[in-house]
Symmetry: C2
Subunit: 228 residues, 2 copies
């Protein structure tokens, strides 16, 4: 095993340290965040820092780097109060990566990378049509991180659009079956193979594989109830 101390990390060449430190957090989610300004000019940017915060209320966070290129996203979010987060899958991860090029403000990454926007009624910001799992988020809080010049952006999930087949009976969405990709470091993409699900862990109980109880899907139940 190789051991690097604090000093050795500090004296690494900048680009090396960026690659190295970006590898430490482990696999990261690959998401495209789509926004629009008040005039409807759209922006699309890749983020690897989307993180779950809570289910009730349904909150999601992401880290905004102190980088000019990404400021279009933040400015738009502040203007409209909304954004969409779109999971990236194997079919379009190269186009998704290409959105990180420094396009001019008047260029939309949708056009430049040939990704089609999808609008729903009552929401001024687009989704990425190709994404198989995507959701609209309402801005809640922008937290400046004082140790750094980054910001942590927190929002509430207000719409979810997902391929039916991936949603399991207990609410779990099988994102591996959707071909969702993960990122490591700054530029490495990965496909995922399932190792299975594990039961809720209890002290002094042997850990077993999770077995899905076969029952009516909760969303069938939900739609029946809505019909009443």
């Amino acid at each position: 095993m190789k051991h690097f101390n604090c000093h050795e990390i500090k004296v690494m060449p900048d680009r090396v340290r960026a690659m190295f430190i970006n590898s430490l957090s482990g696999f990261k989610s690959a998401n495209l965040i789509a926004t629009a300004n008040e005039q409807g000019q759209t922006n699309l940017a890749m983020f690897s820092s989307v993180v779950h915060l809570g289910a009730s209320p349904a909150l999601i966070g992401f880290v905004m780097r102190p980088d000019n290129g990404q400021r279009h996203t933040l400015n738009n979010i502040i203007e409209t109060g909304y954004y969409t987060i779109n999971q990236v899958s194997t079919e379009f991860y190269r186009q998704a990566h290409q959105t990180s090029a420094r396009y001019l403000k008047e260029q939309s990454e949708f056009d430049e990378t040939h990704l089609t926007p999808l609008y729903i009624k009552g929401l001024s910001v687009p989704f990425v049509e190709k994404s198989k799992l995507k959701y609209a988020v309402k801005l809640q809080q922008i937290m400046p991180i004082s140790s750094d010049n980054t910001q942590f952006i927190i929002g509430e999930i207000v719409h979810v659009i997902c391929e039916d087949v991936a949603i399991q009976e207990d609410g779990y969405i099988d994102i591996a079956s959707l071909g969702s990709v993960s990122i490591s470091g700054l530029d490495a993409y990965h496909n995922s193979l399932s190792l299975g699900r594990l039961n809720y862990a209890k002290p002094d109980v042997k850990l077993e594989d999770y077995k899905l109880a076969i029952k009516a899907r909760w969303f069938d139940w939900l739609s029946k109830r809505k019909g009443k």
Copy 2:
């Protein structure tokens, strides 16, 4: 495609909503956070919310849920000011999952899950011996998230220990080669297959696969320089 609006998300049964919302962020990193109190009593807990914040300074964040079981971790971090983050790989992901059982305060998850602690000189908190990529972190900031009862814990990376073979010439660590796992939802584990690395994206330049320039490893150069 299935569409769920804000109201439909709110009326989902609690456990269904937890599974569903936890699937939305995409693949998550699997890390064991190890801590100790001032008396040296250790604690080990699984976290899927570790996120990269910056490379210079080398900062890392994670989300602490408002859950009593995890408070041992936070109390210890506050007591000593240090913790370690240990990437979980296929060899011990089941043991890692088992650390989420609600053990008593006087029980250490190291003992209960048969994972061996590893100590280095000058640091009172242990690493997980089996982990192939692990680092020690010095607490910087605890940010309460007002929209929720969670906290965002930020620290600086002060030691990194990693298998030599995974560290590439440009600083990138090939975590797929280490068998590092990812998590989706609350309890699903995944292995990763590499789709390759992509070049830095530029406007109007065709995106190419990244090719590693063969040169002396920067850490060989570093150790030679240190010897001078």
